[in-house]
Amino acid sequence: MRKIVAIGIAVLGATFAHAAAAQPVQAPPIQVPPAQQAGGAQEDDELVVDLEGGQSAPLPIVIPAMPTASVTATTAGSTDELGRKLSSVIDDDLRNTGLFRTVGPNSARPIAYSEVNAPNYGSWATFGAQALVQGYVRANSNGTLTVGCYLYDMSTQAELLRQGFVVGVGDWRRAAHKCADAVYSRLTGEGPYFDSQVVYVAERGPKNRRIKQLAIMDYDGANHRFLTNGQSIVLTPRLSPDQGRIVFMSYEDDRPAIYIYDMKARRQRLLVSNVNLNFAPRFSPDGRWVLFSMAIAGNTDLYRVSASGGTPQRLTTSPGIDTGGSYSPDGRRIVFESDRSGSQQLYVMDADGSNQQRISFGGGRYATPVWSPRGDLVAFTRIGGGAFRIGIMSPGGGGERLLTESWGDEGPSWAPNGRVLMFFRAAPGSGRPDLWSVDLTGANARKIPTPLDGSDPAWGPIRP
């Protein structure tokens, strides 16, 4: 796993020991309410990114192309081209949250290198911008790039953020995501999520003979690559917490089994294989265990097995179908679905299988529960009225909200900050699925670009 080095940046003679130390210690002018708070009273002169949606217009923000002090050729293009591309990625990241109205590098005038840490506030007034993201890019002699990232408050003319990132040239997009993450977090108070990856199942072919391949990409669809060749059906991949492994289900040799794919070795190995149907694998938060389902003679229960293999331990014993398990972020509890009551409903239990309690009581069926990385919510698929929809509720069972309205939305997966969900949406008739994301508020439903059809997305953690 390549790690991005966040550095204190030296630009134009100003040196900072740590990026964090460079942030202003005075009371910041931008106040952001926590996500759970309803949009309460706001002072008129306060810069606020409202996460509840519908409360205020998207925040106008200008992102001019990042200049470079000396134009240098790299394998990803010259540094002046890279400066424009970096700003475009930041533009896309912020605009696609639905929380910002961006003026990106195609509309904003180019800035001089000397302007990076001395913004010309007056020149941006015509855009009505309330915030300004500037930065620079430099090619280093060792084949890395240094990307500086600055955020300014237009009204108070205060510097809100100053960070630098050193990346391999091939990882230039990650520097842009890191910068956008820092800006997003600074302005919303939420955790970052742009510098993350998604594993999913890429699909093609006729409905009765779909070809399914494991694939991985950046959260925005960039840097896409296939991991399996499509000879066997593969389903339900999940990234390990350390992002070095993917656990998934495959029909290799016509035997449904659970495999672990090693990202570095680019090889898969069997984790659980026996005469039974083994499916629905999930990593524990510490990456040491895999929760999964095994069907024996028509009865499905939850089990866990060491991620290095061995004998599975049985966790549930109900005569119904217990599946779709997901650990709480602290690893102490599990949310799962069971039809023991007669139809699919959600249950929570302790990680050893004790204290099983039903948490869903609405009409229809509830499936595919997944615990938020923040711990405060469970997302699920709700089936009813001829539709599959994505919803959320508290792990205690209250506060249910449906976020999507569609014929076939299924399989939500949380962004690393617990604010956005990715899922797949199947079309009636063709059955062809696409990947979509939606905000926790139900706003900003967006299709994720993939080269083929896509299903079973699993959002990985923020990258180091």
């Binding site: 006729p206 409905k207 009765n208 003979r209 779909r210 059906i233 389903l235 339900t236 016509d254 035997r255 449904p256 005469v275 149907l277 499916f279 629905a280 389902s293 069907a295 003679a297 028509g298 499905t300 179908i321 599946t323 779709g324 679905e337 039809d339 139809s343 699919q344 499936a367 595919t368 698929t381 089936i383 599959f388 014929w407 076939g408 299924e410 399989g411 199947a426 009636p428 008739g429 059955g431 299903s455 079973d456």
Partner: protein, 168 residues
């Protein structure tokens, strides 16, 4: 070679029939002109008794269907499985796989479990009719391999199925 195989198959058929107390249904194939000897007449259309083709020709259907989100066998499904059991008892060396399938109106993982239930419902019925369970393997495909391709009740009804496939 052909003679040996023919003799074995005929003997197996006789044993199976001897152990069956019910009158064979009318669609049980009688001994062919060559007593089951494989004859390739060049067209490749000869059906060998005990083969997958023979199974398909001999049973009422290789497929039973289920109601939405259900895995119990109705009267028609039981009648179909009765003919499958009779054929399997006649050819005791033959092994089968039963595939369980679902329509697209269930979630992926639940449907894998439901398909497993359906395949096992069919397997248990065959076992209760005297077919050794060790001859029957099951596999669930959930909603991964539909037969009918539309999103309507007629297609979904066709896709909720357990299919018996002769593998040897």
């Amino acid at each position: 070679m052909a003679r040996t195989k023919s003799g074995f198959l005929l003997a197996a058929a006789l044993i199976a029939l001897a152990g069956c107390t019910k009158t064979p249904p009318p669609d049980v194939p009688g001994p062919g002109p060559d007593n089951g000897t494989v004859v390739d007449n060049g067209g490749g259309d000869t059906i060998r008794p005990g083969s997958a083709e023979d199974f398909k020709r001999s049973v009422m259907s290789d497929t039973v269907h289920f109601a939405y989100d259900q895995y119990d066998l109705d009267a028609q499904a039981r009648a179909i499985l009765d003919t499958q059991a009779q054929w399997l008892l006649r050819y005791p060396s033959v092994r089968v796989t039963i595939e369980g399938h679902c329509d697209e109106r269930g979630t992926r993982e639940y449907n894998l479990a439901l398909g497993d239930r359906r395949a096992n419902a069919a397997k248990n019925y065959l076992a209760a009719r005297g077919v050794a369970p060790g001859r029957i393997t099951t596999i669930s495909y959930g909603k991964e391999r539909p037969l009918a391709l539309s999103s309507d009740e007629a297609s979904w009804a066709q896709n909720r199925r357990a299919v018996t496939i002769v593998i040897s």
